[in-house]
Amino acid sequence: MKDNKKMKYLCISVLSVLAVIVVWYVCIDVVHMKPETVFPGPVKVFRSFVDKLSAKAPDGATLQAHLWASIKVALFGYALGAVIGVPLGIAMAWNKWVDRFVRPLFDLIRPIPGLAWIPMFILLFGIGITSKALVIFLGALIACIVNSYTGIRQTKETHLWVGDVFGATGSQKLFKIAIPTALPMIFTGLRVALGTSWTALVAAELLASTKGLGYMIQQARAISRPDIIIVGMLAIGAVGAVFDALLHLVEVKVAKGMNVKN
């Protein structure tokens, strides 16, 4: 009985996506509710997508080239932010004195959205990879610190006391009890950081770049090609979703049996 319900919902899901595409098609290509220069139909978007896979026009690079340019920078800034942010967050939560000195500064920086730093970095380092990577690095750093910090803080005191009973040293308690308990939250932080990095990248590329997906859609706007904009948006969304799914797979493997919620 339960399988029937699942099948029914799956069909409804597929139908609803198809319904949207059909309505979209009817509104634009059949009824011509809006001109194609303002709102392209699904057919045009699909054709532009296929086209862009090989054409360098109108912005100087193929879709894949833009994609690769974006991904490179995003992953670099993200990796750096995660590698520094996670240990820093753990240190802040584990050692009271580190917490006392670092946290006030952190709380001041935290409410500033990553992309607010873009103008400053551009003035200092010019338009290019350095500025973009720094912004992404900052965003990833903050997200990783916050979640690693919360994760360690949530380690139940009783569990640590069990460690004491067995004569565990400080670092053993840290690595064998606190960190494993914090892993789900650390992974949440990594996933949030990934999302933030990707968003920050797109923002940076919109403002000042010469390649990448953000640049592509900004150029498309300038020459009034909304079909390319939509292709770019869907590509941005797809990449973000794929990264998130990959990270989720890693999380499931690593944090098995520790209440991995979706």
Binding site: K8, W117, P119, M120, T199, G214, A238
Partner: protein, 267 residues
Amino acid sequence: MMKKSVLKGRASDKTINVCCACAAIGLFLILWYWGTAATKLGMMIPGPLEVLGAIGRGLFGKVGRHSIMAHVGYSMMRVMIGFAVGSIAGVALGLLMGWYGIAEAVFNPLFRIIRPIPPIAWIPISIIWFGLGEDAKIFLIFLAAFSNTTLNSMAGAKSVDPEVINAAKMLGANERQIFTTIVLPASVPSIFAGLQVAISSSWATVLAAEMVRSSEGLGWMIVAGMNNNDMIQILSGIVMIGIVGFILAIIMRKAEEVLCRWNKSGE
């Protein structure tokens, strides 16, 4: 660590924290001042005094066409409208999706396609659709608030204790009553978690929107500073952005404390 607190009493612990905070911030300011006054850093970045001075002058003076307070006002107004509409829509849809399987089947796939696209990526298309005015920006903030609140609300509706629902059924509540009197209040903590992310996301989005295309607002202010090679303006903008963002986060936290009084789960 525990022995120290026991000997000195709890009040001391708090004062130690405050002292360290002041020391850390003070140290940072001093380093900043000395760094810009005494070294080559001063050629790239202005010192704290210059920035504070600019803020003081600009608060009710003029930066571009408006005072800093007016810029803050513009940014805030856009955030408030977009956040309010987006959150209400997101919470409503999320709760429905969490409670009614059919709603989830219909809307979830569309949601999963649209959500990974950052609101910022919508800027070019929203300018084409809505023009260069307020609507485009408010639409973006709406998107930011909407996508962040829907998921959390849905999770909240799904995680209501089934025994509590059985209790409500036993007491005579029908389906609609269960939704409004049980599922909704039970989801409030999850909803608030979503709202907190939504407010900071909305704040980031309004800045992005203003940075791309605007003539007022804090986002405009820092981009204008960039275009005029005016580092002081950029930094004063960043400081104001931080202050406002901080206030928004505090308001959200206080609201949660009041509305979720009953949820002290003893962590």
